[in-house]
């Protein structure tokens, strides 16, 4: 067995096992930790396929940001997962039915690929460049051919951010303490320090401070 195959089975096996643990562990924090393990193993699989850029993005974005966000949410919201699972057996038949339908659909999709005749593809697929790294290949098209799409996606995100702020931010005028940099900078020893003479044996309260 070659090295690559060995690592493939290692990553794939751990990914599947940890994915199973995500849904079966009792503690939600453990679930999120197993989710991170699954992500890292998926990243390993990407590296094996030669998609190192995608692997790094997976680690940086999903593990670094999304999973941490999940962790915060599960820790902050006091969700009683035992209670949520109470009706599990009650809904099992419906869940099993839905699962069965999805399974049948998947089998149909795989079995009858190309329903209603062959695809009309005539457009040649772009060859996979071998002389450049993933990141460079992506960067070349992302900022040239797909410049418009890239910038438009950025504007969509900006709009979403403005929208979230417009709809939710309420300025509280009273009782808000803000940093006043000018006041901080304008402080001088005269306004910030008070020199108190404390005689031995006397407490601070007795000096009148």
């Amino acid at each position: 067995m070659s090295m690559a195959a060995l690592f493939f089975y290692l990553f794939a096996g751990v990914a599947v096992a940890s994915a199973f643990m995500v849904i079966s562990s009792k503690n939600p924090v453990h679930s999120v930790l197993f989710l991170i393990l699954a992500f890292v193993n998926a990243a390993g699989l990407f590296v094996l396929m030669g998609a190192e850029f995608l692997a790094m993005i997976l680690v940086v974005v999903y593990v670094g940001a999304v999973a941490v966000l999940f962790m915060f949410v599960t820790m902050m919201l006091d969700v009683d997962f035992a209670e949520l699972r109470d009706g599990f057996l009650q809904y099992l038949p419906i869940g099993a039915l839905v699962g069965l339908i999805v399974l049948v659909e998947l089998v149909l999709v795989v079995g009858t690929w190309g329903v209603g005749g062959a695809p009309h593809t005539v457009v040649a697929k772009a060859p996979i460049p071998t002389d450049v790294t993933n990141a460079e290949a992506l960067g070349r098209v992302l900022y040239t051919d797909h410049l418009l799409l890239f910038q438009a996606a950025g504007l969509v995100l900006l709009t979403a951010m403005i929208g979230a702020i417009v709809l939710t931010l309420r300025e509280r005028r009273v009782g808000v303490k803000r940093q006043d940099i000018a006041a901080q900078v304008a402080r001088s020893p005269a306004t910030a320090i008070e020199v108190v003479k404390v005689r031995p044996g006397q407490g601070l309260s007795e000096t009148g401070v």
């Binding site: 329903v115 040239t144 797909h146 929208g163």
Partner: protein, 478 residues
């Protein structure tokens, strides 16, 4: 591959102006806060005007790796959409000021939404189309709910958001099926891949899903359910924006995708478009009869008008596309005029009313406004020699020439049914006893009503330029 190859930016000049300008406005607003509202409102108007000029001077080309195109069609539609956005902005300032929810973000969101429309109109592949659509829609969801202390406004925003997200999902599903069965996202490439072959079932599924998504965005039956609620709930000037500019952009993307990507599967999409057009015309005519609220009535009216415009698309000829373009231009003018009137229904105590019975006796309290409103309503009903008649004439003419006789006849009959509820309002304006008196109109309202009313009334005197421009622009899709 040349790593330094950079796409030509000149054709996207209007979009660049809007994008950079809106970023500048965000900065001004962030630094100055709500004091900057007036300034940002003015600058937003200036930006839209500048973008409109840029549309005229930018060169025709396909750029950004084939995902963006500026041609006659895009130019015409963009100008109409910009006019709609400009007028809607003009109408809103006074209203928002009076109802105390004026915020500087509003104008910025309208500019961003207009930018999304421009991208939709110019999209030349499915990805650019989707991104433009999302940019437009996201901003629209927010401005529907911008009066966040008003229950109806937030309800409208939420409903629009949930249903809009659903329809975007359908559109994406259709787009991915089309991509799966053609291996291309560019409209020209899709048309190339489909040339000469029999359309496969999967591809037809994709086309139908795409059309469903488009029908939702232009609020055509059977995807119209959200329209009356959203139109009624959203603040009135924002409803004017929804009913004018948004419809133009949605229709433009509908026409471009169908005409550029699927010219060789005409028989497949035509039956869907014919059904959607028929159902929209019928629902727009019958469901509006029982309405008491003017904004709801305008919602059903816009559903019906989208049906008429789709008759032109169903023809699938340059004539038909020309009909759609003229229809939209005239529809935008009529709608903006009608909304300028609805926005002037302000009582002495500062509240706005919007029910049809409040218009009773308007001819005695405000004869000039009553006359223009009556003319706009006649025009919406399609009575000659007003502009609305010509709009319907061009689409039906194209449908007859394309051999779609039943559709054209049904359209004629349904427009007679639709005329009933427009004429009922005219009757209320002229023959009922006045109950309430309205305050004078705002400056923006007067300006919009004068121009829209003048255009509607006098279009028949000199229809040449618009018809010729639309005719030349329609050719760019064939």
């Amino acid at each position: 591959m040349d790593a330094t190859a950079f796409p030509a930016l000149a054709p996207a000049l209007p979009e660049i102006i809007l994008a950079v300008g809106s970023l500048a406005l965000v900065l001004i607003g962030a630094v100055m806060g709500d004091r900057s509202t007036q300034l940002i409102n003015g600058l937003a108007l200036a930006l839209l005007a500048a973008a409109g000029v840029a549309v005229v001077v930018a060169p025709d080309a396909v750029t950004f790796g084939g995902s963006f195109v500026l041609d006659g069609f895009a130019r015409f539609m963009k100008i109409v959409a910009f006019i709609g956005a400009y007028a809607a902005l003009l109408l809103s300032f006074d209203y928002m000021e009076r109802l105390k929810f004026a915020r500087f973000e509003y104008a910025i969101l309208v500019v961003l939404s207009t930018l999304g429309m421009a991208l939709m109109i110019s999209a030349h592949d499915l990805i650019a189309l989707y991104l433009g659509l999302e940019l437009q829609s996201l901003a629209l969801y927010v401005i529907a709910a911008i009066n966040r202390d008003d229950e109806r406004s937030t309800e409208a925003g939420l409903k629009y958001f949930v249903l809009g997200a659903l329809s975007s999902g359908m559109l994406l599903y259709g787009a991915s099926l089309v991509y799966g069965y053609t291996g291309a996202v560019g409209f020209a490439d899709i048309a190339e891949a489909l040339k000469g072959g029999e359309a496969s079932l999967g591809l037809i599924f994709g086309v139908v899903f795409l059309i469903s998504g488009f029908a939702f965005k232009v609020s055509a039956v059977p995807f119209h359910m959200w329209t009356p609620d959203v139109y009624e709930g959203a603040p009135t000037p924002i409803t004017a924006f929804f009913a004018s500019a948004t419809k133009v952009a949605g229709m433009a993307m509908f026409v471009r995708v169908i005409m550029e990507a699927f010219p060789s599967v005409t028989s497949e999409w035509r039956q869907v478009v014919v059904f959607v057009a028929l159902a929209s015309m019928a629902l727009g005519s019958f469901a509006a009869i029982g309405q008491k609220n003017l904004k709801r009535l305008m919602a059903y009216s816009s559903i019906g008008h989208m049906g008429y415009a789709l008759v032109g698309l169903a023809a699938g000829t340059p004539e038909g596309v020309r009909g759609v373009m003229i229809y939209l231009a005239i529809y935008v003018a009529m709608t903006l005029g009608a909304f300028a009137c609805i926005l002037s229904m302000r009582l002495k105590d500062g509240t706005y009313v919007e029910s049809i019975s409040d218009l009773a006796g308007l001819s005695r309290t405000k004869p000039a406004m009553a006359f223009v409103l009556a003319m706009i309503l006649f025009s919406l009903a399609g009575i000659p020699p007003l502009a609305g008649f010509f709009a319907k004439f061009y689409v039906f003419y194209a449908a007859v020439n394309a051999g779609l006789y039943p559709l054209a006849v049904a359209g004629f009959v349904l427009s007679v049914v639709g005329a009933f509820y427009y004429l009922r309002i005219v009757k209320i304006i002229y023959f009922d006893e006045p109950t309430v008196a309205f305050e004078p109109m705002s400056f923006g309202g007067k300006a919009v009503l004068t121009i829209a009313g003048g255009f509607t009334l006098l279009y028949f005197v000199y229809p040449g330029p618009l018809t010729a421009a639309a005719g030349a622009a329609a050719q760019s899709l064939f």
